[in-house]
């Protein structure tokens, strides 16, 4: 063992446990690093510290109950996760929800995405050592949480979607609040972007760091803004439009560099797209019922179903095997973070410890999403 660790230059490699309690793993992720001085030779993720056996629990729950488990996965994309299960049930039973529901879901999705990306923007600054961004981001994200709270009653895990529609109608202030928020945030976003991407230290720290090639991105299944930064066109909103995404105009942010800075930029640009989507929809929310007629007990036909949605971190999938009962036979959540984590070792080898923090931050890992 000892002899293996001594490299050609005669330096000895050593192990460092990064986590489970560590400031930059954003939760209880444990990374076993093999280091040669400051240089990373190997990263071995050890996960499962917040494994709550949600897939097992889902086997004992009805479909309406499963919705409530999903927002405990990626708590920052709670709304999108809920929608995945709702869409799966609706598609399996061939229930057509009203346009109102579709539009509201889309607006809520994009608000959640904005909130998630804002939090990420604050955290990346903190990981790089600029703590100030963290407080700016949290202060503004609070406004989104307030909007959410007004309509859904919850700030983080909304549970607003349900198979067949929505839990309740919009708050009468919703449109005004969202418009006010967008007006405010559109002045702040360029300023914030400038604070980091205009900073020479930040660009030096991220450009060329953690380069992920297109072939690797596809092979590792890296999706979301991280995948699109490598040129992998994987936006489910574009490839398989759901809800109201087929009636709005937005660009899929694609980059070719695939380094940490590209991942940073793709998220910042995605915020602009989210703003644009909300602006297109907020003034023309159609009237209609918020709930399609549904049976009290939802039973899916025998067979297997898969539903993909685009969350803030990438492609979220729900795979359900049904045997015709009111509870599923098997549920699998394809979490974007899990696949994104698998690439960490590949792209951080040969970099410094500080780069690992930057890479982890730009992959935007949420640990409950990985552990399930």
């Amino acid at each position: 063992m000892q002899a293996e660790l001594i490299s050609k230059e005669g330096t000895q490699e050593y192990f460092v446990n990064m986590g489970p309690q560590h400031p930059s793993t954003h939760g209880v992720l444990r990374l076993l690093l093999t280091l040669d001085g400051e240089i990373i030779r190997k990263v071995e993720p050890h996960i499962g510290y917040v494994h709550r056996s949600i897939e097992k629990m889902a086997e004992f729950d009805t479909y309406k109950q499963i919705v409530h488990l999903t927002d405990r996965l990626d708590y920052l994309s709670a709304h999108m996760n809920n929608e995945a299960v709702a869409l799966l049930v609706e598609n399996a039973l061939q229930i057509e929800v009203s346009d109102r529901v579709k539009v509201i879901r889309t607006i809520m999705n994009e608000l959640t995405r904005l909130g998630s990306h804002q939090l990420w923007w604050g955290v990346i600054g903190m990981d790089m050592g600029a703590i100030t961004t963290f407080l700016y981001a949290f202060r503004d994200r609070e406004l989104i949480n307030d909007i959410m709270e007004e309509t859904t009653g919850a700030r983080l895990t909304m549970n607003y979607n349900t198979p067949g529609g929505l839990m309740f109608d919009l708050h009468h202030n919703f449109q005004k609040q969202v418009k006010d928020y967008l007006k405010f945030f559109k002045t702040k976003l360029p300023e914030y972007d400038q604070l980091l991407s205009g900073n020479v230290i930040f660009t030096e720290r991220t450009k060329g760091v953690g380069k992920l090639s297109l072939a690797d991105a596809i092979s590792y299944g890296v999706t979301g803004p991280s995948g699109r930064a490598s040129g992998f066109s994987c936006d489910v909103r574009k490839t398989q439009p759901y809800s109201a995404y087929d009636r709005v105009k937005f660009n899929e942010i694609l980059m070719v560099e695939g380094d940490s800075f590209a991942r940073y930029q793709s998220r910042v640009n995605e915020m602009w797209e989210s703003i644009s989507i909300i602006e297109q929809l907020i003034d023309n929310i159609p009237e209609g019922p918020i709930m399609a007629p549904m049976k009290a007990v939802v039973k899916l036909p025998k067979g297997e179903f898969y539903q993909r949605v685009e969350t803030a971190r990438g492609e979220f999938g729900v795979y359900v095997v049904s045997d015709g009962n009111k509870t599923p036979y098997r549920v699998k959540f394809r979490s974007p973070g899990f696949s994104n984590l698998s690439v960490l070792d590949h792209i951080s080898r040969g970099h410094k410890i500080a780069d690992l923090v930057a890479i982890m931050s730009t992959l935007d890992l949420v640990i409950p999403d990985i552990d399930r």
Binding site: Y220, G221, F305
Partner: protein, 152 residues
């Protein structure tokens, strides 16, 4: 490529497959012995080019296991579900595909952890989510854990 063409192509490659038209995707069930060869063909053949595996999991059917791979081609825009049927329920084994789709490395470890399916030639097959000293594989249908689980 259309599902019909895919059906013909795959059955010409591997006559032992069972092809089912699912509600969304074409489902290809292949015995675990022939699985690896078919997976390689699907990935590298110019007509299929399934380069993106967007989901991988396993289902316990009480008498046998099925490992399930959702495949998609980013170039040709078609998708299918590949299933390896593992007949042996006591000692399930299937060949790894983590060198074909790199994302499978962690997914296979998860399946090994929760179902106890052994992946041959996997470089680092250990428990992933549960602790190393955990007994049993919780997502199996015959798993009973009186201590940590509430049965309903």
């Amino acid at each position: 490529m259309e599902n019909e063409k895919l059906r013909q192509l795959i059955s010409s490659w591997e006559p032992s497959v069972e092809l089912i038209d699912g509600p969304q995707y074409l489902e290809v069930v292949v015995p675990s012995a022939q699985f690896r060869a078919l997976a390689e063909k699907l990935r590298f053949d110019n007509q299929t080019q399934f380069d993106y595996m967007f989901n991988m999991t396993c289902v316990d059917w009480n008498d046998h296991f099925q490992t399930i791979y959702h495949l998609e081609s980013t170039k040709l825009n078609h998708a299918l579900v590949l299933k390896a049927k593992i007949a042996d329920h006591n000692q399930p084994e299937v060949d790894t595909i983590c060198d074909i789709w790199r994302t499978a490395e962690l997914h296979e470890r998860e399946v090994f952890d929760l179902f106890g399916v052994k992946f041959n030639q996997h470089p680092d097959l250990r428990r992933l989510l549960l602790t190393d000293e955990w007994v049993g594989h919780p997502l199996r249908k015959d798993y009973v854990d009186e201590v940590n689980m509430v049965l309903r």
